[in-house]
Symmetry: C2
Subunit: 413 residues, 2 copies
């Protein structure tokens, strides 16, 4: 791509087949929001849907809504819709709890597939909640389970007969690097190791083909590219071939085969239902369903193509306009190896990001020195990218970032 005039940029937006989706979201006026990989924007339909859930379903129908408004099937129903986005069957995916909790469910299930093996393997430098959940599980049974982190480059050489499960994130939260899901899964399977894929930064941003890759388990986040709202419920995938052999150690009543029999002893529900635990948060489910429904209207190939183009444009414009200011790409420059984000190292990354935010360009900072910009193809435009980099160049040229107000850390960075 060699588009470097505003006219050319605007032409890309005019020709964009996804441009019609932008109006389906509430985008604050004047804001360039490149943080949909942290919290997706508000679908307009979520406002009316949530008002209806609150006023009619909760307020008027009350407890009857579990049947009359089908609350009881929300985790299954929304799970089935997300399944279509990630190459799973609707019997293999269920919504509920958080990504962290669902990682724990998949880890405990994986151990049941490999009762003579002890190691839960993952890589250093990943978004750490996944590794922390491995540690927590190992702490319950230190004689039985070992949590092991190795350098990303050493994963394949550590796939041996001691490994009970491999836990990897498909798209890296900082670098945006995308793993070879099919190749890694095959390599692990050759050693009898099931793989748990964390799709938090992939689902809704690119085609994912869990069954095409013969994946075993997966988890994913509802509040990033799925636009499910702050702290939206997460999801769990378990391949159909494993479901009857395992149960999550988080064996709550809604994962029981007969929850309303109130039996004293746990017997797992058939299929993916056993990955439910407690009562689902209905407000969170309702918002998530709106985001997922909206995404299902778009073509995932279009989303991926535009995502790649937005990222390429950002990298190209930073090189062109900010080449003198010391930004080093922290992401792959090849679009096919990159998720829907770009990132850069810069020693003053924190202050530069605060200066951008003050100018209404929202990305985020990830310690120690990374500026991260996410692209949500449903609502981000090429002109967003043009303007964001123009403002960045202005901040760098004027050294606007070099100001005490931008160096003070907030609670959430």
């Amino acid at each position: 791509m060699s588009a470097t005039t505003l006219e050319q940029i605007r032409k890309l937006d005019r020709e964009d087949r996804l441009a019609r989706f932008r109006d389906r979201f509430d985008i604050p006026k004047g804001l360039i929001y490149l943080d949909g990989n942290s919290l997706g924007c508000l679908p307009k339909a979520a406002k009316t849907r949530l008002a209806d859930v609150v006023q009619r379903e909760w307020g008027q129908d009350l407890i009857r809504s579990w049947n009359s408004n089908d609350w009881i099937n929300a985790p299954r129903r929304i799970g089935g819709k997300i399944a279509a986005l990630v190459g799973a069957s609707e019997k293999e995916l269920i919504v509920g709890d958080t990504t962290s909790i669902n990682v724990f469910k998949c880890l405990s299930a994986s151990l049941q597939l490999n009762e003579e093996r002890s190691v839960l393997l993952s890589e250093t430098g990943n978004f750490p909640t996944d590794a922390y959940m491995m540690e927590g599980l190992a702490a319950i049974a230190p004689d039985r389970v070992e949590a092991r982190l190795v350098d990303p480059g050493d994963i394949l050489s550590n796939l041996d007969a001691s490994v009970a499960a491999l836990l990897l994130t498909h798209t890296h939260y900082k670098t945006g690097r995308v793993q070879d899901m099919k190749g890694v899964t095959q390599a692990a399977h050759k050693k009898g190791i099931p793989v748990i894929w964390d799709l938090s930064h992939s689902c809704g941003a690119m085609p994912v083909d869990l069954n095409g890759c013969d994946a075993d388990f997966a988890v994913g986040c509802g509040y990033k590219y799925l636009n499910g709202g702050p702290g939206a419920p997460a999801f769990t995938f378990a391949a159909e071939r494993h479901q009857e052999k395992v149960f999550p150690a988080l064996s709550g009543w809604l994962g029981h085969k007969a929850p309303f029999a109130f039996d004293d002893f746990y017997e797992p529900a058939p299929g993916i239902d056993r990955f439910q635990c407690g009562t689902p948060g209905i407000l969170g489910c309702a918002a998530l369903e709106v985001g997922v429904d909206l995404m299902l209207e778009a073509d995932m190939a279009d989303i991926r193509a535009k995502s790649s183009a937005l990222g390429n444009l950002f990298l190209e414009l930073v090189e062109e306009k900010c080449g003198a200011y010391g930004f080093q790409p922290a992401c792959p420059v090849e679009a096919d190896q990159r998720g829907s984000q770009v990132s850069f190292h810069h020693p003053e990354g924190y202050a530069i990001m605060q200066a951008l935010i003050a100018r209404n360009v929202i990305g985020d900072f990830r310690a120690p020195d990374i500026l991260r910009f996410g692209f949500a193809p449903l609502y981000n435009s090429y002109e967003n990218v043009w303007n964001a980099v123009s403002i960045l160049a202005d901040i760098m040229e004027s050294r606007a970032w070099d100001d005490a107000q931008f160096k003070q850390k907030a609670a959430v960075t």
Copy 2:
């Protein structure tokens, strides 16, 4: 109480100091809602609060809301408010996840206090998710941990040096029987056993004094008497004296001492914060906070007194008007041993409850034969009780329940 005329009943309502709260809720016209122990009614303020969270905090402020709208502190802030309702300090209680998940956290923490002990002890016939979570934990470490259920009458005689933790529900979900929290906790402590109290059917319905009883851990539900909305976040209490000695095996990133350092290895946050796990559901938190704020305006002694009086009246009227129809109390008739509900055995309990619901009297059925009626003193009136029992008597006299439409089981009973 000998009030058995409608005039006398109406006088009780006129003199009720809590009557003013009824108008703070959306109560469907013509509905007699005696199921607030399953899903509390909608506080009117929740409608405007949720619209604001959705439209302004999510839609306009987006990711900045973690700081600017203090989302990051919601679990601590709401936890501190609930603490005031259950005799805890604000440093001891945090909101998040479900009751089931929080039971697991407390069980895993208890095991760390008693590393040489193996038994997780609880009673049969309780709401079973608590026992299922014990089973799940034991399944991870079968050589280390045993889940043991005994008859309720055998708990005290099973408190021995093998028991790592005792898990009990304060108010029983079916019978409404209230445990002696102080006495049982003392008996357990004499044997070196920490106690985990499930407050799901107590918090918001009666005074609870966790610190006065020297309680160790507790969990509770947000969507019953706290009126936090369907599937509201639950809470976890850990006594300050234990906090630095334990961590929940569900060791997610928000329970880390420096979540935004993204360290590879888990180090628990100071104090109660370590009982956080993944990203909190902000919509659910927002609704819960409205319910809790409303409850904090009322006097808990008034709530308990009215709750007892409503239950006594219900029992008395059933005896007077339905004495011939075979209802056997399943709850204690002494108000001081009973939570904010009454329940009855009846062989046709399911059909009778469906017939009541068809007449706009909402209670619920619990297998195998229990009709359960909950009283939420903030919005239930004495006249609600009078009318409910009058309709019940009418259904029994006319045998209206004896109809095929009332015998067909719904997904959620």
